[in-house]
Amino acid sequence: MERIVILSLAGIVAALPAIMAAGCAVSTSHASRTLRVVDLLWGLRALLGLGLLGFWFVSTTSPPGDVGVPVFTLWEDEALPDLVFSFRLDRLTAVFLAWETFLSACAMRRFRAGALRLDDRQRTAWMYGGMLVTVVDLFVLSANLLLTLACGILISRICELMCRGSVDAEFLLHHQGAIGGQAAGGTRGQIRAHGSGTVLRWGEAALWVTLLLAWQFFGTGDYAALCDPLVQQRVASDNPAAIPVLALCLVWVTLAFARQFPFLLPTSVATHGEGDRESPLARELMDLPVDGLLRGFLVWPIGFWILFRLGPVWQHVGVARQLLGLAGAVTAVLAVAMAAVGTNRREILSYGSAAHLGLIAMLFSMGSLTAMFAGLMLIGFDAAVRLLIETMTTSRAVPPRDAPGPSSRSLIFFSAIVILLWGACGGRGFLGTELAHSATLDSVSSPAGLPAAIFKAFPWIVIFVLSGESWSLLRCGAISSRQRSGMSEDRNPLTLPASSWIVWLAGPACVGIFCLWRMDLMQSLLLPLQPVHVYPFDLSMFAIMFSSVSLAAIAVGLLYGLNPEWRNALRKPVEPLLSPLQRGAYLPDVWKLMVWQPAGYFAELCRFCEETAWPAAGRFFRRLISLWGESFLGELEHGNIRVYGVVVLLTTALMLGLLLYPEL
């Protein structure tokens, strides 16, 4: 009975967005009644998702265990390991589904009341949203790499569709010259926005390689088989490099999908939430909060999902863990620096989210499942609350383009509450034991040598990043609350008055105070978590992270609200604070050097060969041959068909002669 209920709820939750997307695709009605029905369905789905979570965690006295879902076989043959789509539903999936249903309902509600509510494209964007949510659900439910690959590709394509893009923009800009210039007349922002799709292609390529390697080494792409210790032992004995290579590929997938360094690009991060402010089309993109937030808070975190599922494959590979941790650290530092100097709210929030994902990658590399999962939840619910606030503060009487943004104080206030809530429940038992069982992350060996030194530096990086996030939150609130979200025309570089540095320094201070204050409680919390071998350091880092952000946010928010001079001082433009790091100006060059320059040189070389080298070689050989036989081959040079015919006839006669008279 429990199994039937759980499967039914999960099926409805996963299928409902697809039904709604199909309905939006075939419907031509824009009546408010229709839109209300869609709103109602999204809300109903959120309730079902929460009901699924509640039924599993509360109503059942004992865990029902993993629920298997029927497998869809594409084709069966011995030449292929498993051409099947299989699903798996466990507690971790239930948590993620519930979170996703809530977030997507908030996003759709925001979109319903948002800037495009009077626009004809609303129905199309709803359809894309439904498709994206469906595919994300399938991605989460997938139990083998083939389905994960299919969903990853679909997510990437739907994201591009949502941005109305398929132009490989950076390539056009850097290597197509005239066409780039042609396209730049009014669509430069579109091109910049579409550059982010290229990053997802890296994730796709990594997924392809991961699938091929898994099929090659393990003979299957099924997660259960990949995580089986006996199978891993056999594979490692056959080929010692198999599991490390597979682990590196998995990290590669995560880095690309979660936008970690070196895939952290201004065009791929900021445009998710904002777009390029210089172009009219980018302004339209800025009017698409659903796009920005779904991509920002659904697509990015699922990069970590495959690491959840395949923890035993990669967690014992030191190189993969260190690589993930280093990438996360670099991402966090760079993103928080860019968030700190952002000039509008959406940009600050986008880079702040990227920095937070970097922190999660660092925690993941240290093996802290609890902190990492709570961090993902934090991002999602913070986004959901922000969406709700924006929805509530958007006036229906005002045209979309003139609508004011949400209140800065409400943003800070609700974000702080969400942070505190998740900081408080992050160390609960069900997050520790049950989810650790689902994610099969049981133990992590401690690093040694240079990696250990690097890992020891992580706490200081965390403190720095959290302080930066606190300050960015302040800056976000300091930007005029009356300005429309994401439409700031403030192009001046951000500067800080001396007084605001107090806020920045408040972060480490809060961390220290909180650690001293909460240490005893953390020690008591460790006891029920012993079976899953979560390190005390990890848990303390988790608590430090959320507490510092929350305290700093609350303190700054209160001070900011009481002191209007600070607000004015923060708005005042002075000298650039972080000019070398400002807005990641160097990142496009790094990206260009890594990707576009080699690709461009290769393409240019091929074009040169095609248009110049091959014809020249042909002329050279024809001239060389003509020296040998001037008259006959001269005819060949001019393509005389009769000459070809004579050649073929002579060859035929020779062949027939050999056939009929073998004595020859």
């Binding site: 594409l74 084709w75 011995e78 969903c151 132009v167 290597h175 066409i179 390689v209 073998p662």
Partner: protein
């Protein structure tokens, strides 16, 4: 002679273009009868497509399940066959073999001067897919003349039209269709060459009549060389089949089958070496010439790096209808010949050969992708995209892995259908409504490998097979990003006419012919059908793979001798239907 409904259907499919030609000849009375001709063309195309669909439904995979390698080698490739003898005696094979045994020394005196030519045709899984693809692609090709006629101010001055042009164009296109269908279903070398000659002849005439400004270059560089390549392949096949027929049964038979050729190389040559040293010596002296001619002909028909440049003028200078023929189907015929003729004749490939062929195919793929990235027109980009896919499919088909072999065949069909839909959509000049737009996206998605389309399955099978093949895995791993980003290039290329400037007309250059919009129901209908085929086969690939598997089981194992491969499991039931000519000539010999 006709044993089943399938053979009647096959006959109808092949001869339906001739019916169309007669219909147009009757309807056209010297005046501009555009509507009537167009209706005739559309009805003919729908008739062909319907018949091909019936053929697919009627076609059944073999029922017998070979449980051993030896049995797998004996899987018949041709499930439906029919025809009649044209020239030569009708002495049955067994009688001739008995005669040979009694008068071994009189062989040379009984050699007939004329070979036994049969108007024989048949269908296996490979040719079935190609025939359906041809039937689909010929619809927009046949509609193109009427499409172009309505050009008005947009019609290019370089291609003047008069009232007879459309009739001639339609007849030539129907002739090309007849040649294509006959070539795909041919089971006799003479019949094969005749159909190929019709295809090339009608194409040359149409190109010379209605082609672009550089059509002379196109004819000289492309069509003439294709004709020579056809002649080389035909002569090589004649030599191969005729030599073996002469060596064994005293009579020259030009009939061939893919598994017939395969049996010759795999088994008969070994036996022949022992029982007939003279014949073995003859074969040894003839084999180099046959192999070289096959190779030369195959190069002419494969639009693949490094000899792809001869195809570019043909694609660029062709009128729209002929462009469909050569860009979507004609460019795939090289791989069809590779599967049906070249691989069986060459026999098992050595690992070194596989490595070099894979290197050639994959390097050609990467090269064409690089060139494609630098193209600035839709047609050029799509042309180099086709060249790139040819390289990838070539590497997959010759790597000796079954998965790659099937994936390569799926990708060939996918490229043909997707490119036809993209060109068809581009000919509309605009996104007329949502239905073609969505179908357009389905074609782009299928070319770029979106899950749920035929392209994804093809890429998956190809990459896995290549990864398992003697080709270095690292090379394939390098190819994976190229394929993924190649999909991105595809999207860019096909959207270029639409997205360079929003609301602006497509960018046309290099003598490409702009065409105005046509009636929407034909555009929608074709787009919906092709997109549906791509997506249905992507979700349920068994529709194609179950038909391809029995026909290609022995060829898919071409990388190594069959005995070294694993036991083949074929689950599909085996049903043989056919007339007296069902059994191939070499079928009755045990290995």
């Amino acid at each position: 002679m006709w044993a089943s409904l399938n053979q009647y259907l096959l006959l109808l499919v092949i001869t339906s273009p001739l019916v169309g030609i007669l219909a147009i000849a009757v309807i056209s009375r010297g005046g501009p009868k555009a509507a009537a001709e167009r209706e005739a063309v559309v009805l003919h195309a729908l008739l062909t497509l319907g018949l091909a669909g019936l053929l697919v439904i009627q076609y059944r995979a073999p029922a017998a399940v070979p449980q051993t390698n030896a049995a797998a080698r004996d899987i018949p490739t041709v499930q439906m066959r029919g025809g009649f003898r044209w020239i030569g005696d009708s002495v049955r094979l067994e009688e001739r073999r008995a005669a040979k045994q009694t008068s071994e020394d009189d062989r040379l005196f009984h050699l007939p001067l004329l070979p036994i030519v049969r108007m024989a045709w048949g269908i296996d899984g490979v040719s079935l897919c190609f025939i359906v693809m041809t039937s689909l692609v010929m619809i927009p090709a046949l509609l193109s003349p009427a499409h172009r006629r309505g050009g008005g101010a947009n019609a290019p001055a370089a291609f003047p039209t008069h009232h007879k042009d459309d009739t001639v164009t339609a007849i030539c296109l129907l002739g090309c269709s007849f040649g294509l269908l006959g070539l795909l279903a041919a089971q006799d070398v003479v019949w094969l060459m005749a159909c190929a000659g019709m295809l090339i002849g009608f194409s040359a005439f149409l190109l010379g009549t209605c082609g672009g400004v550089d059509r002379r270059e196109a004819i000289t560089r492309s069509v003439a060389r294709l004709g020579m390549g056809t002649l080389a392949i035909g002569l090589a096949l004649i030599g191969f089949v005729y030599a073996f027929s002469w060596m064994q049964v005293w009579g020259g038979e030009t009939e061939f089958l893919p598994d017939f050729l395969w049996q010759r190389v795999q088994h008969d040559l070994v036996v022949l070496r022992e029982i007939d040293p003279v014949a073995d010596q003859v074969w040894r002296q003839t084999a180099p010439a046959i192999g070289l001619m096959c190779l030369a002909g195959a190069w002419a028909w494969l639009p693949m790096f490094p000899l792809h440049r001869r195809w570019i003028p043909l694609w660029r200078q062709s009128p729209p209808g002929l462009r469909f023929v050569w860009l979507c189907v004609g460019s795939q015929l090289g791989l069809f010949g590779l599967v049906q003729f070249a691989l069986p004749v060459f026999g098992p490939l050595e690992d070194a050969t596989i490595w070099w062929s894979g290197l050639l195919g994959l390097s050609g793929f990467l090269y064409a992708q690089g060139v494609m990235a630098k193209q600035r027109t839709f047609l050029s980009a799509v042309s180099y995209g086709v060249v790139a896919q040819q390289g990838l499919c070539f590497a997959a088909l010759t790597c000796g892995e079954r998965a790659a072999f099937w994936g390569g065949l799926l990708q060939v069909v996918n490229v043909g259908l997707s490119v036809s839909l993209l060109v068809w959509q581009c000919m509309q000049g605009e996104r007329t409504n949502e239905a073609p737009s969505w179908c357009h996206r389905a074609a782009i998605g299928s070319m770029s490998g979106i899950p749920g389309t035929l392209g994804f399955i093809g890429q998956l099978l190809m990459l896995w097979g290549l990864f398992r093949s003697p080709i270095a895995g690292e090379m394939v791993l390098l190819t994976v990003p190229a394929i993924v980003f190649g999909g991105r290039l595809w999207q860019w290329a096909v959207q270029l006419p639409f997205d360079v400037e929003l609301g602006e007309s497509p960018q046309i250059s290099n003598g490409e012919i702009p065409t105005p919009s046509i009636s929407t129901w034909t555009a929608r209908g074709y787009a919906v059908v092709v997109a549906g085929v791509l997506m249905i086969c992507g979700v349920h690939p068994g529709l194609m793979l179950n038909r391809l598997r029995p026909s290609t089981e022995h060829l898919a194992l071409a990388g190594k001798p069959v005995a070294e491969k694993e036991v083949v499991k074929v689950a599909a039931p085996r049903v043989r239907d056919g007339g007296p000519m069902t059994e191939p000539a070499g079928r009755d010999r045990e290995p």
